[in-house]
């Protein structure tokens, strides 16, 4: 009798969760950041509820990208769940490397996910990765320094020219405060994440409609000249080696008056245990210039199931849990609402507890909804992506251009030289890849 009851109960649970009957041993590859660490910490609850087990492989973003690419391309099957970004999701999905994720069930509530986020992780209308957290970019600024300089928080989106005037008034290196801190470290995910949207604002684009690179255009020259001058005049020393982390540390330590960077860093900057400027920081939109299109970037960290996995059902079960509304609530209640994964679900921003704990919530929501990777530039382009171009060749081109611009920032070459080198390289790569006949 007891056995029959237990069998009925187990069957009912399996039917309700739609789960796989066999307990599986899943390997999950992920990156090392606060949100993922929380997921790792909370996942034993899912393991207990489902009977599946998780083996974690945590790697640095670039190592992970290379490791997972090798494994998926060779059908190695080492990973059942992988953490990928908004750049990889559509490319890998199109290549047939990922399982479609349109069937996680009604309870998953796809409509609750922000549309730009859903679109950014889809290829040809099919969702290939589910968002764990998403971010745009905005300007962090110091309220105390603004007040001291007699400046007011801009009510509307300002231009980069106005931003430079503002920064000039705030720059006070004698007292250890630099007018602005921006990314300078070379890399498509480092300095180019800031430079890309800035080029968009100045009316530039990576490629014209025939896929010809336009890096030697006057728009690019205006943007990069502005960037190099801004950083040389009002940035911290050695800016060409500062990436997201270095600037985050500088801002948190009170060394920067302004910083245009990821909205996801707000949780850290507003945490008084980790930041000395938690009570004197506010934010406004990333600046525009000749256009307001593509001025704030879009990025999402998402979970996907490689097509080489043999445990697809169990992997999807985990994805449905880790990116659900319930998971957001679980994090909010156990880790504090400010730590809840941002930028993915409407329900998070309708939650009063979250909005109260995270003063940046509304601005983040506005920035993410304003980001449109499908229409990122003033002039039409054949690609999607704001701070990146969603083609496999971009990683190499973006890294090279990033190195050239970092060298210009460090004074090792002129802006003209950097852009000429970048253009030559991009033309060669695009010709080699068959985009330019």
């Amino acid at each position: 009798m007891r056995l029959r009851n237990a069998t009925v109960a187990a069957t009912a649970i399996a039917l309700v969760t739609g789960g796989s009957a066999v307990a599986e041993d899943l390997t999950i590859a992920t990156v090392n950041n606060s949100d993922m660490i929380i997921m790792q910490k909370l996942s034993p609850q899912w393991e207990e509820a489902t009977g599946h087990t998780l083996n974690w492989v945590v790697l640095e973003e670039n190592v992970l990208r290379q490791r997972v690419t090798t494994d998926i391309a060779t059908k190695g099957g080492s990973f059942d769940i992988v953490t990928i970004g908004a750049y990889e999701a559509p490319i890998w999905g199109k290549q047939g490397w990922l399982n479609a994720l349109d069937d996680l069930g009604d309870a998953y509530d796809y409509a609750d996910i922000f549309e730009p986020v859903r679109n950014g992780l889809s290829a040809d209308g099919t969702l290939y990765a589910v968002p764990f957290y998403a971010e745009s970019s905005f300007t962090f600024y110091r309220t105390d320094l603004f007040e001291k300089a007699g400046l007011e928080k801009p009510a509307e989106q300002i231009t980069y020219d106005q931003f430079a005037e503002m920064v000039a008034q705030l720059h006070d290196p004698e007292n250890g405060v630099y007018g602005t801190c921006q990314r300078g470290k070379a890399g498509w995910g480092e300095n180019m994440a800031f430079v890309g949207p800035m080029v968009n604002a100045f009316g530039g684009r990576w490629f014209d409609m025939e896929w010809n690179p336009t890096i030697d255009s006057p728009e690019w020259k205006a943007a990069i000249t502005y960037y190099v001058d801004l950083m040389n005049n009002y940035g911290p020393p050695g800016a060409s080696s500062n990436g997201h982390n270095e600037n985050r540390a500088l801002f948190a330590d009170g060394k920067c008056a302004t910083w245009v960077d990821a909205t996801s860093a707000a949780g850290y900057i507003f945490n008084p245990n980790e930041s000395s400027v938690a009570d004197k920081t506010d934010f406004f939109q990333a600046p525009k210039q000749v256009t307001d299109k593509g001025t704030g970037w879009f990025w999402a960290w998402a979970l996907a199931v490689p097509s080489s996995s043999t445990k697809v059902d169990a992997a999807k079960e985990f994805l449905a849990w880790a990116t659900s509304k319930d998971y957001v609530t679980l994090v909010g209640e156990s880790e504090g609402w400010v730590a809840a994964p941002p930028g993915t679900r409407k329900s998070t921003y309708e939650n009063a507890a979250y909005v109260e704990a995270a003063p940046f919530a509304k601005t983040v929501e506005t920035s993410i909804l304003a980001a449109n990777p499908a229409d990122p530039t003033k002039d039409p382009v054949p690609y999607t992506g704001i701070q990146f171009v969603a083609i496999p060749e971009f990683q190499g081109i973006g890294n090279y251009v990033g190195q050239q611009i970092a060298a210009a920032l460090a004074g090792q070459q002129s802006v003209d030289q950097a852009l000429a080198n970048s253009q030559t390289f991009a033309v060669r790569e695009m010709t080699k890849a068959g985009y330019i006949k």
Binding site: T27, A29, V31, N32, N33, S34, I37, Q40, K41, N55, W56, V57, V58, L59, E60, E61, N62, V63, Q66, R67, T70, D71, A73, T74, K75, G76, G77, S78, F79, G189, E190, G243, H244, N245, R248, A249, A252, D253, A262, S264, Y268, N273, E274
Partner: protein, 276 residues
């Protein structure tokens, strides 16, 4: 006059050597310092870092999140396994090249060394495919074999150099006394070359312990050694300097201690035969 300058020169040389040693050791020292700081203190200016409080929090956090001992045992097995497997192949090979050299011996030695000149990433995909086909992905045995193959040229070259210092007449005498080839290698050659073999073992254990490309690319979770343990604390988004430093200290401590106690042996072995 000469007597007066000698101590001064000696003091100067000592000072230069001491400074150079300090400069070389400084990054490790700084990692140790940061590992005892909080994340917030670890990112401050150097002087502020030194004057801030000390804590063991990072070690606690690392141990709580990762299974150090699993990674540690994987490192021990992989480094020792690959070194001893390498010796099994290299001792007979080096014996043949040192005592019965042929016309092509020199070329074979150079060819073996040339394999070290190939960037590892160039053969990543073929080796990855072989690992998939043989079911070796994320296994310790797979890594033992790969690291053995990678370090084999160095093992053979080192042993070859040591063996050449041993007079062939001694082996000849053993043969005349009726020793078989196995006995000759095991009971005559090996004991005489022991300092050289010991330093070869030490150097190769260190190389295998620190190898990061293959150990990161061919493992996932089960066979991941300490290199993967360190890599899991590296991040371009988020501050993990203190935890990364703590993980690094935990990963290098065993090999540092081993190197410290065996440095005499290591130096003796490496300079063996340097002066003729």
């Amino acid at each position: 006059m000469a007597r007066a300058t000698a101590p001064a020169r000696k003091a100067l040389t000592t000072a230069i050597a001491g400074t150079l040693a300090f400069v070389m050791f400084f990054p490790i020292l700084w990692i140790v310092v940061l590992s005892f700081k909080s994340e917030v203190d670890a990112i401050r200016a150097p002087l502020q870092v030194l004057s801030s409080g000390w804590t063991l929090d990072s070690y606690g956090a690392v141990q709580e999140r990762s299974d150090y001992f699993k990674h540690f045992w994987n490192s021990v097995i992989i480094s020792l396994g690959s070194t001893f497997l390498g010796l099994l192949v290299a001792i007979p090979a080096a014996w043949a090249m040192a005592f019965v050299p042929g016309k092509q011996t020199r070329n074979v030695l150079m060819w073996m060394l040339s394999t070290k000149m190939l960037p590892p990433v160039g053969v990543l995909v073929p080796i990855y495919l072989l690992f998939i086909n043989f079911g070796l992905l994320d296994t310790r045995i797979g890594l033992v074999v790969v690291l053995m193959l990678i370090n084999l040229p160095i093992i053979i070259w080192m042993l070859y150099t040591y063996f050449r210092e041993i007079p062939g007449e001694i082996l000849e005498a053993a043969r005349m006394d009726g020793a078989s080839l196995r006995e000759e290698v095991l009971y005559v050659l090996t004991p005489m070359a022991l300092p050289g073999i010991a330093s070869t073992i030490l150097l190769n254990v260190i190389l295998a312990w620190n190898e990061a490309f293959w150990t990161l690319n061919l493992t996932a979770s089960r066979a991941a050694p300490l290199t993967a343990f360190i890599a899991s604390y590296s991040s371009p988004e988020g501050l993990f300097y203190a935890k990364l430093s703590a993980a690094s200290v935990m990963a290098i401590a065993p090999i540092l201690i081993m190197g410290w106690f065996s440095q005499k042996q290591l130096v003796r072995g490496l300079t063996f035969g340097a002066v003729k």
